[in-house]
């Protein structure tokens, strides 16, 4: 009899610590790591694609909050049968309204006027529109207005590029005309 009571108490005490225990034991660590890795195995998202998704998320979110970009975590998780994408972002500080407005305005103007960007961020997105990604020397690409590269002429000729692409005879020349803004990646 008394043994049973002790057992019950023991179980109750154990259950109190269950939450913390769960984090530590090798079994659950294995289970969770395995879940994550199987999610990745089962989806067709390559590490490169995940990296890109991460980058785009950082760009989008940094308009609204200042965050620790390096510490951003992007993981697949399983909740029952449902696959979930877990995003964890250490926020350094929320931006105030004016800053957000500014960021959005910049984005707007960038959309309407020119689409400048750092090549490494969007090169493969833009290739269909403006630029071949293997353009090694061009650090910055310019869209409609500033396209310099011969290779792009065909694609952008319908824009006002003809007027702008004057002096360039080498394929690799470009104007370092870029601001810090990015093109909308999903184009």
């Amino acid at each position: 009899m008394s043994e049973n009571i002790f057992k019950e108490i023991y179980a109750k005490v154990l259950s109190l610590f269950k939450q913390t225990e769960k984090e530590d034991n090798a079994k659950d660590i294995a289970k969770n790591r395995l879940r994550v890795v199987l999610m990745q195995d089962r989806t067709n998202l390559t590490p490169e694609l995940l990296q890109r998704m991460r980058k785009e998320l950082v760009e989008l979110l940094s308009k609204y909050v200042e965050m620790d970009k390096e510490a951003l975590e992007l993981n697949f998780d399983q909740e029952g049968d449902q696959m979930a994408l877990m995003l964890s972002i250490p926020v350094i500080r929320a931006k105030d309204e004016a800053e957000i407005e500014k960021a959005l305005a910049e984005k707007e103007s960038e959309k309407s006027e020119e689409e400048t960007d750092e090549e490494d961020e969007t090169s493969d997105d833009n290739e269909s529109e403006e630029e071949k990604p293997d353009n090694e020397e061009s650090e910055e690409e310019n869209s409609e207005d500033e396209t310099e590269d011969d290779e792009d002429k065909e694609e952008t000729s319908d824009e006002d590029t003809e007027e702008e692409t004057l002096e360039t005879d080498s394929e690799e020349e470009k104007e370092p005309e870029t601001s810090e803004e990015e093109t909308n990646e999903d184009k």
Binding site: A26, K27, A30, R35, D41
Partner: protein, 271 residues
């Protein structure tokens, strides 16, 4: 007679595919079924060793496909059980020596004379795996409760699901250590089944007897009192359609292991 062709596969090496093959085959033969085991691990054959038949091999599967002998000539009879025989892999050739079509053909021929054709699959997901699976209509996926083995099993299951010829696959969880499961140091059978969401056909406890049985070339199912042997015999019964409950390893160890541990502790102190 139309035999069933079952491929035993795992993805990862070292989880006990060949041991499983030898034991299930022997258990089925003990139950009176006519069984042939095919080792398709060309260049890395081992099934002959586990069965203690390594000195009896004259012809291999490669000799059969290259027509140096008849299929029947290449079948090596088991020492004890006349119902059981082995078609050995060639040790000196690589995976390209036999094609999917050839294996399919061999399986078709064997189906006429045997109840069960167990195909021992090499590790990996390359051509060796494709060959082994080619003639089979059922599969047993062997895994252990370790992350790498489960991950590879998941991959294998994905590949098996894509194969039209494979009508069903079942999971065999090998080398379970109930003590570690209990102390939350190892994933449990339920965890693995949950993650892989596959039907279970067997749970085999870790058993040091496997080592001695391999050394002797005598499958552990022939050892009546071995727990792993019993688990393998149960797998064979399930394959034959019997509804056999799974061994309760937890209970088994919680009492037996405690007593054993107690005595082991005493012995240790005495030394």
């Amino acid at each position: 007679m139309t035999g069933r062709v079952i491929v035993i596969t795992s993805g990862k090496g070292g989880v006990g595919k060949t041991t499983t093959n030898a034991n299930i085959g022997t258990a089925l033969a003990r139950a009176g079924k006519k069984v042939v085991m095919i080792d398709t691990d060309l260049g890395l054959r081992n099934l002959d060793l586990l069965l203690g038949l390594e000195n009896r091999i004259v012809y291999t599967i490669v000799d059969v496909v290259e027509e140096r002998c008849k299929l029947k000539q290449a079948l090596v009879k088991d020492k004890k059980n006349p119902n059981l025989c082995l078609l050995a892999a060639a040790q000196t050739r690589d995976k390209t020596a036999v094609t999917e079509e050839q294996l399919k053909d061999i399986c078709e021929k064997l189906k006429k004379d045997y109840d069960f054709i167990l195909v021992d699959c090499p590790a990996g997901i390359e051509q060796g795996f494709q060959n082994a699976v080619a003639g089979a209509s059922e599969a047993i996926v062997v895994t252990t409760p370790e992350m790498s083995a489960v991950r590879d099993a998941d991959r294998i299951i994905g590949l098996l699901e894509a194969k039209e010829e494979i009508k069903s696959y079942k999971l065999l969880i090998n080398r379970v250590r109930p003590n570690l499961v209990k102390s939350n140091d190892m994933m449990s059978v339920e965890d693995v089944v949950g993650i892989l969401s596959a039907e279970l056909i067997g749970i085999i406890p870790e058993d040091t007897g496997i080592i001695t049985s391999t050394n002797k070339g005598e499958p552990i199912v022939n050892t009546e009192k071995s727990l792993a042997g019993m688990a393998y015999r149960n797998v064979a019964r399930r394959i034959m359609g019997e509804d056999v409950p799974f061994l309760n390893l937890e209970e088994e160890t919680s009492i037996v292991a405690k007593v054993k541990k107690f005595f082991a502790g005493l012995m240790g102190k005495e030394k």
